[in-house]
Symmetry: C2
Subunit: 129 residues, 2 copies
């Protein structure tokens, strides 16, 4: 799969894909004879994972660390799990924050409706006088 196809498929730009590879977020993608990237099954899985994590705000650095630990092989299994667990914790916290903001927004929006209602009522009162 070419870089343009992968970019299209995951809603990223080719620049971003190259950037990810450059900083070691994506392991070196195999090249064709001519030197062009040719993404395979595993690469796509990795892209999908990264895309999902990034869209959830997981820091690039954490993901790079995680990917780097695959170089260490089995000895780093615990360390890798550690990172995932840590990020999971952060995510739970962040979801709670977003939820709190959502509640606040809902409250404020509801108040706007109430206020409009109040304004209408006042208008009606005025007319009735």
């Amino acid at each position: 799969m070419t870089i343009a196809e992968v970019a299209e498929k995951y809603g990223l730009t080719t620049d971003t894909l190259r950037y990810y590879e450059r900083i070691g977020l994506l392991a070196p993608v195999p090249r064709t004879k001519g030197g062009n990237r040719d993404y395979g099954e595993m690469d796509l899985r990795a892209v999908d994972f990264i895309k999902c994590m990034r869209s959830a705000g997981v820091a690039v650095e954490a993901l790079v660390e995680y990917v780097a630990l695959f170089q260490e092989g089995d000895s780093a299994r615990e360390a890798r799990k550690e990172i995932l667990t840590e990020q999971r914790k952060l995510l739970v916290t962040r979801i709670a924050e977003l939820q709190k903001a959502l509640d606040k927004l809902d409250f404020k929006i509801a108040n706007y409706d109430t206020a409009v209602f109040e304004a209408e009522k006042k208008l009606k009162d005025t007319k009735e006088k």
Copy 2:
């Protein structure tokens, strides 16, 4: 309330508070005789709201726009509500993204446990031979 106290109370830095004021996110805070900021009830409410929205990832620009619409008075009521509704929509989308990432993380973490279990089983099998 001094800027340091407000910063402490909301877990922001004094620099951030001044920055917010500079860019019009926070209406000009009243000053003491000597020219120092003296945050009042309303200012604190505003800080709290901004802090909450920002921690949920609502863009500074959207909040500035919202705050600016208070200058227009009642005529901008609808516009203000519009912004809140728009941000609410974005938030719902973002929460879904975070949730999806959380699910993926949970799955991966569970796999680590399974893998460890498999490894242990293999080890046991080896011993039993």
